[in-house]
């Protein structure tokens, strides 16, 4: 097969300055992207994958090595500016942040931007723009203002801008990382369609495993080198290698791997839930018997441990109604008769699709919005009561917003973490004690404390921002998508820190997230919202066992829950309440006839 891009022995080092040492981002990287293929470049943050993308787009030139396209080495010394410009016409790129790549104030003007730069005649631009908007399904938004669109829609506009330029190769640099599940699905479907129907070569950079399974080929990057490459089946057949590189594998693979470790030869390379279930059933060779599982006391004991309702209530919503624009024609009823109590030492996950009212609820809890009707009781006291100061409420109900790293401002990490405690009027000794404690929870090292927060990596900044809220010792910690955009290692680090904080401080934690896998793994209790109302409230097992209702309101269930359902349809009934891979594996193994 012909190669669209051939990378040979590529090395690249970011030059350092007085403060930061030089960083060797790529070391001797070689791989090929075949024409018409769907190649995924997988790697943790800082593995060099984004550097690779900018080199492939000719945004920088490598220190050593070759980038060959159509027989020409674009990293060679004698490449002219015209040639680079020409290469850029063939390779397009869609970036991570949907806001930062849209230039014009009207959708169709933005799609036309690239063609206008190339000097395409007006009538031809018009034709291409309409066609590109049709391809991404955004034709009816042609005259809209981009800032009014959702993240997924913005990314589709950006994709339309690239395809209107008639590129052969499109590189997606973590283009789905900042989107909600619905947006991610929209964009992934668009990408797949472009690859399949229009024969466009796609190179997708990501750290989402589900996206990687759709590829023809995966290149795994680690520490600036290629760790492994091959088809998804080949790459995911070695889960240990990926785990060690700070990555993850799909839950189907993890389940099969756990079974394999226990001596059941389930195939690791089936990523579709149905196929995976088939594979497991075949590997079990009829040895599974659900009556054995029912009698297995050890597993049933674990099953009965639910969320304990005996714990003390810290935070309570009573009869909450919230309207946006009350009395105007745009009035929307964002929250409807919410009755909810949050208990000490409990992690409550709030899930719901975008627009379900969960963000409004977060802002109500922190006193950023005032309920139209109803009462919010914090430790038994109405937070909007005249006698309580809303500022004190905010100290007690700490809120970590989405992408909190964008609010860091102080000269040093220490000062930033100390911002909250100092606002509380604490003396400097107490401030210091709190900062140190919070830093330990959020895994912020002492060495980092005197550095500027702006010099840190994305994951580090996120942890500093978390420490800044923990330092106020809130009795309720509210987090909005705490792990959004982080790679699997970063996700685990931040979520583990939150759990540790709960265990030691006994605070109540409220997490809003779209990641069902994370919610299943970390929450004691899950509240499901749809259209401004609470439709489910229970332990993860209870909630995820009602998967039809969840999908009915546009939500996913963890992949392993779907596998369990497929297994049940094939006579291997391990219950509908499975939401963690470990639990699924234990139940399958627990039901094996001796």
């Amino acid at each position: 097969m012909e190669n669209a891009i051939e990378i040979k022995n590529l090395s690249f080092t970011y030059p350092g300055d007085e403060i930061t040492p030089p960083v060797e981002a790529l070391k001797d990287v070689s791989f090929t992207v075949e024409k018409g293929s769907f190649t995924v470049i997988l790697g943790h943050n800082g593995s060099g994958k984004s550097t690779l993308a900018s080199l492939m787009c000719m945004l920088a030139s490598p220190d050593k090595g070759q980038i060959i396209m159509g027989g020409r080495d674009y990293a060679a010394e004698d490449v002219t500016d015209e040639e680079i410009f020409d290469a850029r016409r063939r390779v397009g790129m869609v970036f991570q942040n949907p806001d930062n790549q849209i230039v014009a104030t009207i959708v169709e003007e933005d799609v036309a931007f690239g063609c206008e730069n190339l000097g395409v005649p007006s009538a031809e631009i018009r034709r291409r723009v309409d066609e590109a908007l049709d391809t991404v399904g955004m034709r009816k938004y042609a005259r809209h203002a981009p800032h009014r669109l959702s993240g997924g829609q913005k990314q589709r506009v950006a994709i339309a801008g690239v395809i209107a330029m008639k590129r052969d190769v499109i590189i997606f640099d973590e283009s789905t990382a900042m989107l909600d599940p619905m947006g991610r699905r929209e964009v992934m479907n668009t990408i797949e369609r472009l690859n399949r129907d229009d024969g466009i070569t796609v190179a997708l950079i990501t750290h989402y495993m589900e996206e990687a399974t759709r590829a023809d080929k995966i290149v795994v990057m680690n520490g600036g080198t290629v760790l492994s490459s091959g088809s998804p089946s080949e790459v995911f057949s070695h889960p240990m290698t990926l785990w060690n590189a700070g990555l993850d594998v799909p839950q189907t693979t993890e389940l099969s791997w756990r079974l394999k470790e226990a001596g059941i030869d389930a195939p690791l390379d089936l990523f579709d839930c149905e196929e995976c279930a088939d594979g497991i059933v075949k590997a079990l060779k009829g040895r599974f018997d659900s009556s054995v599982l029912c009698k297995n006391e050890e597993i049933n004991k674990e099953k009965n441990i639910g969320a304990s309702a005996s714990k003390e209530i810290v935070f309570e919503l009573r009869g909450i109604n919230y309207f946006y624009g009350k009395g105007t024609p745009y009035e929307t009823h964002a929250l409807k008769n919410i009755e909810l109590a949050f208990r000490k030492g409990e992690i409550t996950g709030v899930i719901g699709h975008t627009g379900s009212g969960k963000s409004t609820m977060m802002q109500l809890l922190n006193g950023l919005l005032k309920p139209t009707e109803g009462k919010i009781l914090l430790e038994g006291k109405d937070i909007w009561d005249k006698s309580s100061s809303i500022r004190d409420v905010r100290f007690k109900a700490g809120l970590v917003m989405q992408y909190p790293e964008y609010q860091l401002f102080a000269q040093t990490v220490y000062d930033d973490i100390a911002f909250g405690p100092r606002n509380m009027g604490l003396d400097e000794d107490e401030v210091r004690r709190r900062c140190m404690e919070a830093a330990a929870f959020a895994d912020v090292s002492q060495e980092m404390m005197n550095r500027s927060p702006f010099d840190l990596s994305g994951g580090q900044k996120r942890r500093v921002a978390l420490a800044g809220v923990i330092a106020m010792n809130p009795s309720v910690l509210i987090l909005d998508e705490p792990a959004a955009g982080l790679d699997p290692g970063g996700r685990r680090a931040i979520l583990d820190g939150i759990r540790e904080y709960k265990e030691i401080s006994g605070s109540s934690i409220i997490v809003v997230s779209h990641s069902m896998e994370d919610m299943a793994a970390y929450c004691d209790r899950i509240v499901v919202m749809a259209d401004g109302a609470i439709i489910m409230d229970g332990s993860p097992a209870e909630v995820f066992s009602r998967s039809e209702e969840l999908t009915g309101v546009g939500l996913d269930v963890p992949q392993v829950t779907r596998v369990a359902a497929s297994l049940a349809a094939r006579g291997v009934d391990i219950g509908r309440d499975v939401y963690a891979v470990r639990c699924a594996a234990e139940r399958i193994l627990g039901g094996i006839k001796s």
């Binding site: 850029r88 206008e116 809120l399």
Partner: protein, 271 residues
């Protein structure tokens, strides 16, 4: 949250459909016409024409008058200055150090009328019926010949477009950051001016950091889409002046001619 830039009002009147370049030129002519008017009858004609504009634009007169609110102070101030300081021939009031002349009152009236007409007319042409984007476009194409004099016309218009694109994004971001800092106990609403300015630092710094980051990202994205400046660029929407643009321009020129004729032959009360 949505900010109405210059209060563009969606609509489909003749004014909405005029070429932005025509609107720019017509506005300039219109301003000249307003300043040419001297005779009271000329003023009546211009005022009637302006009222006609509002009617044609199908924008409610209330909105048009609302646009005058910000200049209320200037109107009052110029009126007072003219009434009390203008020295004419017909003394009306002579009380201590206060001398008010008939000519002063006339002059004040004239100036106020001019300012009001000017704002309503330009508002009708340029803000209420023209989107900022097409205005920028029109300006760029109208000033294109200046590029030969090495004036970076295209770059200025690109800057305008990007600013218009990012203002709503940055406003949204400001809100988010303010909320985040409020959640950490920041207090923006109490204390003296110095304390308040200081309290804004935790908002302004991340906002700048973010604006710079966005600027960097956008520059890279533009480079990736082969942007190299205005040279060799084509446009998807080419502005084409139609008959209606010429007719409208002609009508306004005729209005000017009418004003000059009235000034000359019916110079009633003119100064």
């Amino acid at each position: 949250m949505d900010i109405a830039f210059g209060q563009y009002c969606e609509g489909d009147s003749i004014l909405h459909r005029l070429d932005p370049r025509a609107k720019l030129i017509i506005s300039i002519i219109y301003i000249v016409v307003i300043f040419l008017a001297k005779s009271v009858f000329a003023f009546v004609l211009v005022a009637a024409a302006t009222a006609g504009l509002v009617a044609v634009s199908k924008i409610s007169p209330k909105i048009a008058l609302k646009g005058l609110k910000p200049i209320l102070f200037i109107v009052v101030f110029t009126t007072l200055v003219n009434i009390f300081w203008y020295k004419g021939e017909t003394l009306l009031v002579n009380f201590g150090f206060i001398h008010i002349y008939l000519e002063g009152i006339w002059n004040a009236l004239l100036i106020v009328l001019r300012i009001v007409l000017l704002l309503i007319a330009t508002g009708m042409f340029l803000t209420y019926t023209t989107t900022p984007l097409s205005l920028t476009d029109g300006m760029e194409q109208l000033l294109a010949p200046l590029a030969k004099l090495k004036i970076p016309v295209h770059d200025f218009s690109m800057m305008m477009t990007i600013a218009l694109r990012f203002i709503p994004t940055l406003i949204e971001e400001t809100e988010k950051i303010m909320n985040a800092q409020k959640a950490r106990g920041a207090d923006f609403s109490t204390g003296g001016p110095i304390k308040r300015a200081k309290a804004l630092l935790p908002v302004v710094i991340p906002l700048f950091a973010s604006a710079f980051r966005r600027a960097g990202d956008l520059a890279t994205a533009m480079e990736c889409r082969c942007y190299t400046g205005g040279e060799g660029r084509t446009r998807m929407n080419v502005l084409r002046a139609g008959a209606i643009d010429y007719i409208f321009t002609l009508v306004v020129i005729m209005l000017g001619a009418g004003v000059i004729l009235i000034n000359k032959f019916i110079p009633g009360f003119s100064l």
